[in-house]
Symmetry: C2
Subunit: 569 residues, 2 copies
């Protein structure tokens, strides 16, 4: 039984009520969402349903979050469409096969990253970049759904093409479709704003009211399907409907891409994996913290990797942890991934027996569901805060959002990755370095630029507030040389190492070379406040030997020691 | 006259002797090297000569190093060959045109990076990764030249192909070519080991002897050309020779790539720019430091960018600052880039009048020059030091070198970039965090894991030794939550900010959320030792307001304040 996940081995009966309720409520959200996101990804509706069964169970076995709801999500669906549309006709058998292969590749990558313990990669994208990416994607998705509301056909992958296509196609708008679409939009929007309050008004508890309000999309689906089916609006008014969805559980298969396809899919698969992982971890993290639980990024990689493999094997497409459903799952009282397993079983029942019910479901209603869902992803708060607190962050957010809207979702995330990595590299190559002096009458030392401090003639005391490594070592050397160039009387340099926890091989090389150069010019290079572990490693090196007797315990000691006389000219 | 570079506006007569000597000696090195590196790049010999005139002058006007010798170099030549061989037949007119376009793209990129002040990118590649890349490239280059020593034809771009081809072609070895090649190899190798010493022995000064020893390749060129020409070994023994080199200065032209070519060349151009820039800066830096001069990475970008543009306009190919020639230039007494201008003028004279002299120069001698030159790039010292000091660095070096040899030069440098960035991201997402306590009877606070210190029940004092930003904020939160999960009695968390110089918007968001979560659980979140500038920015934020009265001046103050009572159960 050791291979079973911990939550299952120690399952407590008291948890079951919460898991069951959450499982049922999430299923009612999941049915319209999985159909809608398949539409968004350019896939037949059943693919969305297939992606909502085995992936959830695979995640339940390997993931670390108790409440993350895995399955089809908006951004990964958009990225799938963007990756596959250049390669095959949307909805074709080839397109479906490519979607499965994309999911397989993404699964393999996530599992490999998990095995290599690369979970720390979850943190390298800055929050503004993620926010900009999501906001840009939401705009792109919403714009792409307008055609379904109008009932017209529009091709084009970038936003200007689509807008131009919409303008041209406007006269072909189908009035009944438009009425259904706009009515759904208004209903879903009103439901989000007022339904919870209205339900509270008629006597329901706040939490129950909130949860029931989340079921509005299902209500819209049922009502519109009934109206269209009863009036046969698909035939009489040309309302585009989902149509026949194959009934029965998904066939298992092994979708192995050819070498050529591999070359075309690896980058999209990598980007989908990265974005899906980062999003999942941040949702799972924020939910876990509310109950003092922890999630483990490396386990998340394994869980999401297994989910994508399972999706690939069972006719699905790339999946990840979704924001909206996870929040509802948590609020509805899910205690363990059993809630997810319950909704997977319910989805299996739907697919095995009930797909006929979706025949008259209008595409316009699914589009309205998507539009309302993604507008909640547009995050102006982060932009406003960033604008006030750190203009550079706000610009990174805007650049990423604009990149997604103008150049598409892949170029947008690549821009975001570049901005984040660039920021990290910039930070690391601009370490904080201060020249320090002594606060009069104390043993405290402070930045000469910010405090009235005493200095000793011929002594240059420099404090570096970072560990030394390849990205900053040369910069530190540069700064020290620049300081020496300004003051020719310096005979001793003290490097204060109070914030240096590590010196890597490159930095060691730079320091060794600098010490030699300085010695040749009659300037003594010394260290102060070296931490124990750093000193231990230095001892065996050439630099350690050359610095013998030149390492001061405290900066104070370094200030008290007489400075060597200048060399004879 | 303000547009003239500073060294020229303030030129002193005393510098001229050094510049002239260095210019002449570098030219004598440059003639065989430029022919040899053109051969390595798969280009006709005149392209190497063209790349040794205008680029040097362009760099002299914009670069910041006084002694960097710009022109064709081994690694950039290898990268050019690797980029162009899939696109056109080596040596064809199309291939030459592509080389010029590659140089143009590289020049535009370098200038753009300079304008964007991205000079800090020089430091993001770790020294082991650079060393591994150079070593791997040197091996690849040397192996690729063996065919010229044997006088056989071998195709194939990866090292296994080439070795297999050599084994197959071995029976076709041309004996006279082999004798010339091996004799040159032995002579050049012996010259490098013993010539300087021998010259000192016959009474020359150490420095003069060292410099004259660098002219051995020219000696080999002259001797072998004379022998082959006099005996007509090209006809009688099938010795492959350089042949007719067009005489006359290069034509100026504007080589604009098509959109399709742009798509194929941008990545190689980017990688050549990056590698060339990093190499140039490190050579220029180490030479400048010996004379207490500084180089400016942003000006280097402009100088190298202009050099590559000039190379593109004048029939050349990608150039950068070379290691060996720069060292000789420095040692020969170059004081300013005038030394380079002098060698450019001398090269122009050679091209305008003397190319006929190269007709009988055997390819085997050029190959021997290349092999001896690149063996000095194989850097086992760095590997040995890294192995003893930091095993991870040694593995990065070996992986990059192996990547270059096995997968080629582009995949190798991409692997190196990934390893360096990965290391930086890993470091940034693993900040040093210590729980601290008080050294008994003092006001000093130290890591509880390394010192015998006192703690206060209910108080958790955590010191983070880095600025807080997006890559580490969540990790810090995670660690604090993990510490709280281990000790349920904690009622106050003190975050000691003595090493925090900055808190970015993401980290501010994480701290704000954490403070709210902790407050909801009855745990007080406080700060200590916040630096002035950090406090100034915090004041206007929600977190700043919520922390009002909870910011301690010193850790000592935080330890003296009574801890709040636990909330009623």
């Amino acid at each position: 039984m050791k291979w079973l996940p911990e939550w299952l081995r120690h399952y407590q009966r008291a948890w079951f009520a919460g898991d069951l309720t959450a499982g049922i409520i999430v299923t009612v959200m999941l049915i319209p969402q999985s159909l809608a996101y398949a539409l968004l990804a350019g896939l037949p509706p059943e693919v969305g349903l297939y992606a909502s069964i085995l992936p959830i169970i695979a995640y339940a076995l390997l993931g670390s979050s108790m409440t993350l709801a895995v399955g089809p999500v908006a951004v990964a669906s958009l990225m799938t469409a963007s990756a596959l549309q250049p390669l095959a006709a949307a909805g074709s058998a080839e397109y479906v096969a490519l979607a499965m292969q994309l999911s397989l590749l993404s699964g393999v990558m996530l599992l490999a990253f998990g095995a290599l313990r690369l979970g720390f990669l979850a943190y390298f994208l800055s929050h503004p970049v993620i926010s900009g990416f999501i906001t840009g994607s939401a705009v792109l998705i919403a714009v792409g759904q307008i055609k379904h509301i109008l009932g017209v056909k529009v091709a084009g992958s970038d936003v200007l093409d689509v807008l131009h296509g919409l303008a041209t196609a406007l006269p072909q708008t189908r009035p009944v479709t438009l009425v259904i679409g706009v009515a759904s939009l208004l209903f879903l929007w009103a439901a989000r704003r007022w339904m919870a309050r209205a339900l509270q008004h008629i006597g329901l508890g706040a939490k129950t009211a909130d949860l029931l309000a989340k079921l509005a999309p299902m209500l819209a689906v049922i009502a519109s399907t009934a109206v269209v089916g009863l009036l046969r609006l698909d035939q009489s008014a040309g309302v585009s409907v989902v149509g026949a969805v194959p009934q029965g559980l998904p066939q298992l298969s092994l979708p192995v891409p050819s070498m050529g396809t591999l070359g075309q899919l690896w980058l999209p698969a990598l980007l989908i994996s990265l974005v899906g992982f980062v999003e999942s971890v941040s949702v799972a993290q924020s939910l876990a913290l509310k109950r003092q639980q922890r999630i483990q990024p490396n386990r998340e990689l394994l869980g999401l990797g297994a989910a994508n493999m399972a999706s690939a094997f069972s006719g699905g497409y790339p999946v990840t942890g979704g924001f909206a459903r996870s929040v509802v799952n948590f609020a509805a009282g899910a205690q363990t991934p059993l809630a997810g397993v319950i909704s997977a079983v319910l989805m299996a029942v739907v697919i095995a027996a009930l797909t006929g019910w979706f025949f008259y479901l209008p595409h316009a209603v699914l589009a309205a569901t998507i539009i309302i869902a993604v507008t909640s992803l547009i995050d102006l708060d982060t932009l406003r805060h960033a604008w006030h607190y750190d203009r550079a962050d706000a610009l990174a957010l805007l650049a990423t959002a604009a990149g997604v809207v103008v150049f598409g979702v892949e170029a947008g995330i690549l821009l975001g990755v570049t901005l984040s990595l660039g920021t990290i590299v910039w930070r690391n190559t601009h370490p904080h370095i201060a020249v320090v002096g002594r606060l009069p009458g104390t043993q405290h030392f402070r930045n000469v630029e910010r405090f009235q401090v005493e200095t000793v003639p011929g002594l240059l005391a420099v404090r570096v507030d970072e560990s030394l490594f390849f990205a900053n070592a040369t910069v530190v050397e540069d700064r020290i040389e620049a300081l020496l160039a300004r003051d020719a009387t310096v005979r001793r340099v003290v490097l204060i190492c109070s914030a240096i926890n590590q010196i890597d091989a490159t930095a060691l090389g730079v320091l060794t070379q600098m010490e030699r150069n300085l010695a040749a010019r009659g300037i003594e290079f010394t260290l102060a406040e070296v931490k124990g572990p750093v000193m231990d490693r230095l001892r065996g090196t050439e630099l350690g030997q050359r610095l013998h007797g030149k390492v001061f315990l405290s900066t104070h000691d370094a200030f008290m020691q007489p400075v060597p006389a200048p060399p004879r000219p």
